[in-house]
């Protein structure tokens, strides 16, 4: 079985994000970058499938500039077999990324595309579903459990929805997107980093793929949301109740 796992380079969730004064972009000075946490969960799940069944090849892919090599190396150090960097410098949106991934799926013919439900920078939550649509394959989004019975050619997934849990089965190939409860990704070990240095990391220029990836979405300006300031401290429950009743009038 072959599993394709896209890894997006995003600011670490613990970094403070600031907007540049001119509203053109976020301040990148001092920002630490990492693999999108949901993608790390996807890769962990792929590694576990390999540990269960043995014969799984895991290909990690990142789309962006040369710096994305860092995240691909991290993916290789976690245990992926090979990496592909699709070089692209410039505006992208979920549809463009999905079109690139669709082309790679045609070339690589994976059985499963395991990816994050959401990139924690743009917070779009779109790419996996778009990819499934472009490929005309089944999808299971926001999953918290994945079972693939060996040789069945089917994946059974538990999905987290707004009202509860849902179990679905999709035939492979399919696109599956991860939610937080699926697993806890392993840490990269020193040995893993050593091994990663010898694993193949291939680069392809996005323009050479022959797909139209022009972004349809254009960010024209970034602003900071209007801040909230700290209100008052109350000392007792009585004081809290009095404020809520007489000042805020919300109870």
């Amino acid at each position: 079985m072959k599993i394709l796992v896209p890894l997006k380079r995003v600011p670490d969730p613990d970094t403070k994000i600031r907007v540049r004064a001119d509203g053109s972009a976020i301040e990148t000075d001092g920002v630490k970058y990492t693999v999108n946490p949901f993608d790390a969960i996807a890769l962990e799940e792929a590694l576990r499938l390999r540990e269960q069944s043995g014969t799984v090849e895991i290909l990690v892919i990142s789309i962006g500039t040369a710096v994305c090599q860092e995240q691909l190396r991290a993916g290789l150090a976690m245990g992926a077999d090979r990496a592909l960097l699709i070089r692209h410098d410039g505006e992208t949106d979920s549809l463009g990324i999905a079109k690139i991934l669709a082309e790679l799926v045609r070339r690589e013919r994976p059985d499963l595309i395991l990816m994050g439900k959401q990139a924690i920078d743009d917070d779009s939550n779109q790419t996996g579903q778009m990819l499934a649509g472009l490929l005309g394959v089944g999808q299971a989004t926001f999953i918290s459990r994945l079972t693939i019975a060996p040789g069945s050619g089917r994946a059974t997934c538990c999905r987290e929805t707004d009202s509860g849990l849902e179990t679905v089965t999709v035939s492979l190939p399919a696109v599956v997107t991860t939610d937080l409860r699926l697993n806890e990704p392993r840490y990269v070990t020193a040995l893993g980093i050593m091994k990663a240095k010898k694993k193949p990391l291939e680069e392809i220029d996005a323009a050479s793929l022959g797909v139209d990836i022009r972004s349809r979405t254009h960010v024209t300006r970034l602003t900071r949301p209007k801040g909230r300031s700290a209100g008052v401290r109350v000392r007792t429950v009585d004081e809290l109740l009095q404020k809520l009743r007489e000042e805020a009038r919300v109870i």
């Binding site: 939610d179 700290a230 401290r233 809290l240």
Partner: protein, 329 residues
């Protein structure tokens, strides 16, 4: 103001057997706003089986048409089949804007629709501003740290709206014509097989719809304590309950309660956080609440920086006292 080419909006309703999901009314509210500002019009599409309750609930909001795709194959929303129907209706009626309230239902389906229409898409939009013959959309990114103004190219634009940012539409009277859509069963992709859907039982309102939300964090040690403290306070206030990711990960609360960047976004009149530190990912889902109360034993907890009323204390002591005093009054 009239647009040179007024938009034709298509609102995708979210319906269940028992009727319309109320979040749909936020999308209807947004569509009506855009239609009124531009001289355009909006239709609503209801998919499922049975759909009558949802269709009835959508009367009186000024939709030009209520399209209804009813078929037993569509009783459960699966992304491939629903996307197929939505794309058909959008093409047939020349929709130029497709929208729905942001929820796991629309997040699952609408990006697939956008891809099939080769259209750009924006999620969790908080404002739509017509500018000349185009639009600027506002949406939040980076866990609520950034608001982006974004434009969308192309003849068809797809977006989901954050329900907390658009007031639910109010009835304006009148009946919208109900137009049945013929569903070609043989053409449905049927690539996703649903086995079971287990709704998490809850005797309380949904956090996205409630006026008051009481939310618990890691301070709460187990499910029984959550029910007694968070649930107990919610019940005396007629409130919904919510929680941080920490409690969902620990199996203390179900996933349906997670509020935050990657959970639900809420903006109630009153939000009460019990033993929640105020991580940016949690704030992303609640900091637009009108009044925020925080109870935390750590006086330095970041949630106090955004709370209107902060009480430093142990939730295990403070909350029972609060419940007791509210019951007395």
């Amino acid at each position: 103001m009239t647009h040179m080419t007024p938009p034709k909006l298509l609102v995708i309703a979210e319906s269940e057997r028992d009727g319309l999901k109320l979040v749909t009314l936020a999308a209807v509210g947004c569509a009506r706003q855009v239609a009124e500002a531009t001289g355009g019009r909006f239709d609503i599409l209801v998919i499922g089986a049975p759909v009558q309750a949802a269709v009835d609930a959508l009367q009186g909001y000024g939709a030009a048409n209520i399209f209804v795709a009813e078929a037993k194959e569509l009783a459960v929303p699966t992304a491939d089949n629903y996307a197929h129907v939505i794309v058909d209706v959008a093409r047939m009626h020349g929709a130029t804007m497709l929208t729905a309230a942001a929820s796991t239902f629309s997040k699952d389906i609408l990006p697939r629709v956008a891809a099939l229409l080769d259209a750009g898409m924006l999620s969790d939009v908080t404002a739509v501003v017509p500018v000349g013959d185009e639009y600027t959309f506002d949406r939040v990114m980076y866990a609520g740290n950034v608001i982006a103004a974004v434009t969308l190219d192309g003849p068809v634009k797809v977006f989901t709206v954050r329900a907390s940012a658009f007031p639910a539409a109010e009835k304006s009277g009148g009946q919208s014509p109900v137009v049945p859509i013929a569903v070609d069963r043989a053409s449905l992709p049927n690539r996703i097989e649903t086995h079971d859907r287990v709704a998490t039982p809850s005797g309380r309102p949904d956090a996205t719809e409630a006026r008051v939300v009481v939310s618990g964090g890691r301070a709460i040690k187990n499910a029984a304590d959550f029910e007694r403290l968070v649930g107990g306070l919610a019940d005396v206030l007629g409130a919904a309950v919510g929680s941080s990711r920490a409690l969902v990960d620990a199996g203390i609360t179900p996933n349906t309660l997670q509020i935050g960047q990657t959970g639900k976004a809420v903006a109630p009149e009153l939000y009460i956080g019990l033993g929640i530190s105020g991580a940016i990912q949690h704030l992303a889902g609640m900091k637009d609440s009108k009044v925020i109360v925080a109870i935390n034993q750590d006086s330095e907890a970041p949630i106090f920086e955004i709370a209107d009323y902060g009480l430093v204390g142990d939730v295990y002591a403070v909350v029972p006292e609060l419940i007791g005093k509210l019951k007395l009054s």
